[in-house]
């Protein structure tokens, strides 16, 4: 059996928000008791509507947010063990940041506009003190070639605003990959790009998975994209994962009403295809989840197809 690159158990992230000066603080359960694992070299799609908690999940896993509850274990290539992300000492933290990288939806946000492409891509090497300046420059050129920015000399001294959206996203990928991470979390990395560029970036990422064994947590709201990229898909709704299954299994035999709704809303590039109409009131799903308990573990209905149990009681 393949080792897992990450194991997440009962992870929650709550935010305290105040709606007005005199009102009591309320709690937003952005991520609410989710569990999943990703085998090495595989990718898991995390799909769901905006606001369902995808980005918060990603930010919590990469330690940009502190989790509220639960456990996260990540594979450490040095020790060959899954290790908790809690209480990492400085060295362990460094190793963690080397193994796990994040690519954001808007690459512009994650870049310093006053840095050249060379400096942007090289920074992780500087932080980790890897190689001589010459070696670092070679590594930058090499990775720019890998992501299709050729010849690299044409890009080294340019600034982010001088590039197209697709080129900037490639720079972001180069920056994430220069550390040869084992695990990359991608938050809607292609949603702002034209279809044409989208495929070349997705293919690039698939190629890296094949050649370098990189695993992905691939966040998107588009199931068609998730199908192309991912071995398995987890469907998220209001902070909870309601269904996880192997990609084709999920698309063929969706069980949770929310998954069905999501599938029925994807436009199909075939004018003769009649989409199934599956209208459902989201508040209804939410109240059923509340009523039937959201704190029970998911169950396997066969073929490693997991669904949230509130659903078995309430809706099937």
């Amino acid at each position: 059996m393949k080792k897992n690159i990450i194991e997440v158990k009962n992870l929650s992230k709550y935010f305290e928000v105040s709606r007005g000066i005199f009102q009591k603080k309320s709690i937003v359960k952005a991520v609410d008791d989710i569990s999943f694992f990703i085998p090495q070299g595989e990718s898991l799609g995390l799909v769901g509507q905006s606001g369902c908690g995808k980005t918060t999940t990603a930010r919590t896993l990469t330690l940009l947010e502190e989790k509220t509850k639960g456990s996260v274990n990540v594979y450490n290539s040095k020790t060959n063990l899954l290790e908790s992300i809690d209480n990492l000492d400085e060295d362990q933290l460094k190793e963690f940041r080397r193994n796990i990288q994040m690519i954001f939806q808007d690459p512009y946000e994650a870049m310093n506009p006053r840095w050249t492409i060379k400096d942007t891509v090289k920074e992780p090497l500087l932080i980790h003190n890897l190689g001589s300046p010459e070696e670092q420059e070679e590594a930058v050129k090499e990775i720019l070639k890998t992501v299709g920015l050729t010849p690299p000399e044409n890009y080294l001294n340019r600034y982010p605003h001088e590039l197209s959206g697709g080129q900037r996203q490639r720079v972001a990928i180069a920056r994430a990959l220069i550390m040869k991470p084992k695990f990359v979390i991608c938050d809607e990395p292609t949603s702002m790009l034209d279809v044409s560029i989208r495929i070349s970036i997705m293919d690039l990422m698939l190629e890296l998975a094949r050649d370098l064994g990189v695993s992905y947590l691939y966040i998107t709201h588009d199931l068609a994209v998730a199908r192309y990229m991912c071995n398995r898909i987890a469907v998220m709704f209001n902070g909870k994962i309601v269904e996880i299954a192997e990609t084709e299994e999920l698309l063929k035999n969706p069980v949770h009403p929310y998954t069905k709704r999501l599938i029925s809303s994807i436009p199909v590039p075939d004018p003769t295809y009649e989409r199934k109409v599956y209208d459902i009131n989201f508040d209804e799903i939410d109240s059923l989840i509340e009523k039937h308990g959201s704190d029970k573990p998911m169950i396997d209905i066969g073929n490693e197809h997991y669904i949230a149990t509130h659903d078995v009681k309430g809706l099937i």
Binding site: D194, V195, S196, I199, L223, L251, S265, I266, P269, D270
Partner: protein, 325 residues
């Protein structure tokens, strides 16, 4: 003009003047729209879709100029009309849902008042209660509660703001609606709801629709007829079903081959490498040649003759690319 058509566009050419030179954003664009039908315009960003839309409305920016061509709406030539004459056709005849319109609401005025203002301009003789009724009817049509009229833009979700934009576009009883990427910033479930809403309104009011998108899957869902744009030109046009079944232009094929789907067998997608040419250069020959997978000798030498030829019943494609195969 054919009585069955609501709009005929003939050999339309539009360019922008900039400090760096002229941008030829619309080149020899011709198409017609049958009454009550929907027509899709698809292509990569920058290919000129919004430029076509704005030229049809004659709301193009100040540095834009219609060089030649005709826009005939409901039997009336629109090119050359003065502002006053245009205003009668705009909104009441043709209206548009602008790209990004849902973020263009005035933040300090209630949604209902902004729609009321548009109606008042067009129907100055209406009473206030007539307009209130009208707004309620419009909101019902697009799936909004009447009380949304009393809210400010920031109090609405993206989907609600976009529904309100559609209500606004319907407020002066147009016959033709242009929707320019109305769902691009929205998430799939909301997109689905908006698409359904637009379809329903189109059927209920027997409207004609021009639907613009870079996503060919959405065009498949929404339109009866379509045109594929590349570098300012229409390179293929016909019934949507025919084009999907039997695409003749390699660019159309590449668009189809690069679109992921959740139905059918999972297939490898092909990326569309390279970028469209600059619209500034006046290239001779085929603008698609640099990206064409199998250019003919004629094509790669820059001698190709451009222009649509009929390849099937009402199905046209660029002569050059039909010959390239």
């Amino acid at each position: 003009m054919n009585q069955k058509n609501i709009l005929e566009v003939k050999k339309l050419n539009m360019m922008y003047t900039t400090l760096e030179g002229n941008v030829n954003a619309v080149k020899d664009v011709s198409f017609e729209i049958k009454k009550g039908s929907s027509f899709g315009l698809v292509g990569e960003s920058g290919c000129g879709k919004t430029s076509v839309a704005m030229t049809l409305m004659q709301l193009q920016s100040d540095n834009a100029k219609i060089v030649s061509g005709n826009i005939i709406f409901n039997g009336q030539e629109m090119v050359g009309l003065n502002e006053k004459e245009l205003r009668k056709i705009r909104w009441g005849g043709i209206s548009i849902v602008f790209q990004g319109a849902m973020n263009a609401w005035n933040p300090v005025i209630k949604i209902g008042e902004q729609i009321r203002e548009a109606i008042r301009e067009h129907y100055p003789e209406n009473t206030r209660s007539e307009n209130t009724n009208k707004i309620n009817t419009l909101f019902k049509m697009v799936g909004l509660e009447p009380n949304v009229a009393d809210r400010y833009p920031h109090e609405l979700s993206g989907g609600m703001k976009q529904r309100a934009v559609i209500a606004l576009s319907l407020s002066c009883d147009p016959k033709l609606i242009i929707a320019d990427e109305p769902t691009t910033a929205l998430d799939v479930v909301i997109q689905d709801q908006i698409l359904k809403e637009i379809k329903k309104v189109q059927e209920d009011l027997d409207l004609s629709l021009i639907y613009i998108s870079h996503d060919i899957a959405v065009i498949a869902e929404m339109t009866d007829y379509m045109a594929v744009m590349y570098a300012g030109r229409i390179v293929e046009t016909g019934k949507t079903k025919d084009i999907f079944k039997n695409p003749k232009h390699s660019y159309t094929r590449m668009l189809l081959d690069s679109t992921p789907s959740i139905i059918g067998d999972k297939k490898m997608l092909k990326s569309l490498d390279g970028e469209p040419p600059s619209l500034m250069d006046n290239f001779s020959g085929c603008s698609f040649a640099p990206r064409c997978p199998q250019p003919s000798d004629n094509c790669s030498s820059g001698n190709a003759e451009m222009g649509l030829i009929e390849v099937g019943d009402g199905h046209f494609a660029d002569k050059c690319c039909v010959e390239c195969g």
